[in-house]
């Protein structure tokens, strides 16, 4: 009998299935999608410990979620014009709608969901909350402790954000043409803040902090894997995240206390992440736009060299000056 489940399976699958179902039902029905996913996990919890973990747990979850979604549709079709209207748009008539949980559709749906969540009409704090909930599969308590606040605050914040998605009739779709770059800026800012939320968080839970950073990197990586969103800025942001997170293991003592940069044991720095950062920094240097992510990534890059040199500190100083100019420009705009 199988007894092993890969770590974070539910968290990962929560995000994938919810994104696909939201795309299917429409952005106004996030709650329905979330309910189906948590019912699916509940069913796993009610059966796997007694019957064993299925050969292919992911496929099991997808089948159960699909069936639950179909039942939900059948139940609601009678009285909810809203949902069935949405379905008619998405599916040919007289055919049972197919919920497509293929890898391709999961990737597309998650990316589109990310853009929907980062709609400018939603306050940025709520965007981060929604991203954590829907795209990273975090629970309300986990989000609350990341923000150092309580359940109620987060619940209300998410409720208002979902209401916004409904009332503004935000579509779960990629923006087209020139709009994509403009919207990508908002998405990058949200991911940057999500990462910072983890990196600079005051919460003492260091596992949670790292999880936030890892999730922010995963989502940024998703942008880079897609042709239309693989921009120099996105690469610069990912480079920045790689450089910072390369110091995770060296950054804190067992008791959660932070070790300052000067005192860190550099043999604990992850060379793998530093190398990854270099690759994305390289990829970010196409085009002619210099974003704050470029500057911060370059500063972070210099910090991956522990050895002090005149050149190192002069470069960092000049980069900081650039950054200051850039933020002044942004303020004046």
């Amino acid at each position: 009998m199988h007894t092993e489940i890969i770590p974070h399976l539910f968290r990962t699958e929560h995000s994938k299935i919810t994104s696909v179902l939201c795309k299917f039902f429409g952005a106004g029905h996030i709650d329905a999608a979330e309910d189906i996913v948590s019912e699916t996990f509940a069913q796993a919890l009610e059966t796997w410990p007694y019957k064993g973990v299925p050969e292919n747990p992911t496929a099991w979850l997808y089948t159960v979620a699909k069936n639950k979604a179909k039942n939900q549709l059948a139940r609601q079709r009678n009285f909810s014009e809203n949902i069935s209207g949405e379905i008619k748009k998405n599916a040919p008539k007289d055919e049972e709608p197919d919920i497509d949980l293929s890898e391709q559709n999961i990737t597309d749906s998650r990316l589109q969901m990310l853009f929907a969540i980062c709609d400018p009409s939603i306050p940025v704090e709520a965007q981060i909350g929604l991203a954590l909930r829907i795209l990273c599969g975090f629970g309300i308590d986990e989000i609350a402790s990341a923000f150092l606040t309580n359940r109620e605050t987060i619940t209300k914040r998410l409720m208002r954000a979902k209401e916004k998605l409904r009332s503004e009739k935000i579509e779960i779709a990629m923006p087209v043409g020139a709009e994509i770059n403009q919207r990508l800026d908002t998405v990058l800012r949200t991911l940057y803040l999500l990462f910072n939320e983890g990196y600079y968080s005051e919460t003492e839970d260091s596992v949670l902090r790292e999880d936030l950073c890892v999730e922010a990197m995963r989502l940024t990586y998703m942008l880079i894997e897609n042709e239309t969103t693989n921009s120099p800025d996105a690469n610069a942001l990912l480079a920045l995240m790689c450089f910072h997170s390369s110091r995770f293991a060296a950054r804190h003592l067992g008791n959660g206390e932070i070790i300052l940069y000067e005192d860190q044991d550099e043999s604990l720095w992850s060379q793998e992440l530093i190398t990854k950062g270099m690759i994305h920094l390289q990829a970010s240097s196409t085009g002619n736009k210099l974003s704050k992510y470029h500057l911060e990534a370059n500063i972070a890059c210099w910090h991956t060299l522990k050895t002090d040199s005149k050149e190192k500190w002069e470069s960092i100083l000049s980069l900081f000056n650039h950054l200051l100019q850039l933020s002044t420009l942004l303020l004046l705009r």
């Binding site: 489940i5 539910f10 948590s38 996990f41 919890l45 009610e46 410990p49 629970g139």
Partner: protein
């Protein structure tokens, strides 16, 4: 050797738990059952779904529930072999549902 049924009463976890938390419960439950099975004392068990549960009352009146008076309701059971009630209680004490305040595990001997 006697046979006992350990009956869990708890809240509907999916309403409060995060995906990560549910996966943790899953692992704990499997480890607990695995521990009993390793001693060759596990007979069987099942989880009961909270969704769509109904109660048929006197004179055939059907109600939703059993979620009326208390939040905790039967969520599953495990049957074990044990020399006596104390050994069965020992197994029950390891049940992960007991981490939740208000949750219980009822230990009942199976009548033969």
């Amino acid at each position: 050797m006697n046979e006992y049924m350990l009956i869990f009463r708890h809240e509907d976890g999916q309403k409060v738990a995060s995906p990560e938390q549910m996966q943790i419960w899953m692992k704990q439950t499997m480890d607990w059952i695995g521990g009993i099975a390793a001693q060759n004392k596990h007979i069987g068990g099942q989880g009961l779904s909270f969704n769509g549960a109904k109660v048929v009352n006197h004179k055939g009146v059907v109600t939703n529930g059993p979620f009326g008076d208390i939040k905790e309701t039967i969520g599953g059971y495990v049957m074990v072999k044990a020399a006596n009630i104390d050994e069965a209680i020992g197994f029950a004490k390891g049940c992960p549902v007991l981490q939740g305040e208000g949750n219980t595990v009822e230990v009942r001997q199976i009548a033969h």
